[in-house]
Symmetry: C2
């Protein structure tokens, strides 16, 4: 039987999905999962996603590099923020990371799914290869923005749907919507995202935001697949 492919547009809708025995692909394009991919591809040893700033500071005491943002801005007392370029210069280090949406989506999934992997445009092909090889049913979980739909994560989900639509059974109108949105936007993702809320928010709060976002939209820059083992993300 062909495995299914579903899209969950925000973590707030995840309780409507049956995660059992499925692979969850968490995506938070701007910028948590893009940072995880970029870091692990550049020699970061592991990334521990945590939900709160307090937890992150505890891991920091054990030598972890504390990374993350709240509302798009680096957390006070942390070592680095949420730019992929910062994560790419942490070779040999371990990172603990908390963000507004991305790490929390991972925690929603880890207790119920068979496994959790990390997806971004930066490692799209690595994600696709893994899903094809496993032949397990898949939920792409968009981190969204504070529970609400966002465009960039949905476009990533649409890219997954476009690639796998012949090999997996699409389940749900959200998968059709993501596919249509991606097909409309794919010739110039950055341009398509300029009216989007997170693009506008990052441009307001971060000096190098446009460079970050351009980088996060590069396809297949890294052949790395972050996978959750226990509470830690490592290279598969």
């Amino acid at each position: 039987m062909m495995p299914t492919l579903e899209i969950c547009l925000t973590p707030d809708l995840l309780r409507l999905y049956n995660l059992k025995e499925k692979t969850v692909v968490v995506t938070d394009i701007f910028r948590a999962t893009s940072c995880m991919v970029a870091g692990l591809a550049n020699g970061v040893e592991e990334v521990v996603p945590v939900a709160t700033v307090a937890e992150a500071l505890k891991w920091r005491e054990q030598g972890y590099v504390a990374a993350g943002e709240r509302n798009g801005i680096q957390v006070e007392g942390f070592d680095i923020g949420n730019s992929p370029f910062e994560h790419m210069t942490q070779q040999g280090r371990k990172i603990v990371m908390t963000t507004t949406n991305g790490t929390q989506a991972i925690h929603y999934s880890r207790h119920h799914a068979k496994e959790v992997i990390i997806g971004a445009f930066l490692n799209l092909n690595a994600v696709l290869s893994y899903l094809r090889q496993k032949q397990r049913s898949v939920i792409v979980l968009c981190a969204g923005w504070k529970g609400r739909f966002n465009m960039e994560d949905t476009l990533f989900a649409g890219a997954v749907v476009e690639a796998l639509q012949g090999e997996f059974v699409l389940d749900g109108d959200d998968a059709l919507a993501a596919l249509s949105l991606y097909q409309t936007a794919q010739s110039n993702l950055l341009e398509a995202l300029k009216p989007a809320s997170h693009y506008q928010r990052l441009i307001r709060t971060n000096a190098n935001a446009e460079e970050d976002m351009r980088f996060c939209l590069e396809m297949n820059r890294f052949d790395v697949l972050p996978i959750l083992k226990g509470e830690t993300l490592i290279r598969n």
Copy 2:
């Protein structure tokens, strides 16, 4: 200050929205709100949306026509189902209606918003005229399917966004997504909806489903605006 226009993709996300002082446009294209519009335009006196079958049966004892479906199928003991053609032959009658998604979305809204109106492709221009005249901030609430996103309601939301985008401030990526989906699908809505889950579900369960759906996608057939007064929908 220009009023805002937001889209809520499913009632399960409505708690993330501030409804205060806003007009909520509830839409459930297949088929609850299409039935309400078609009925009220054809002499139905009022429609009472209720959440449960038990409530509907109580109203029925008072002479109301009991209408509605569960999972796309007419409820046992009810007088009519959820085909707009059935609702158009109830001139002079009062209808009590319960459906899987549509009437429940109305109940979510009525306690917090300034007002609740009913939208469908069948009365799109009546909705737009009303919103332009009131100049109040708007939330288009898609009834969805059991809490999940659906395509046809989102396309209606996209039609509202396309018409009002210069006159209202679009708030949220969901509005941009609905607009893009509508622009892609608008040349042939029925064709675009054929892969959608609710289309497939109705075709399986209802003999005249395709005729119903074709009708529900007709634009501006009726110049009527159902508005909620207390617990009852009447013509504005």
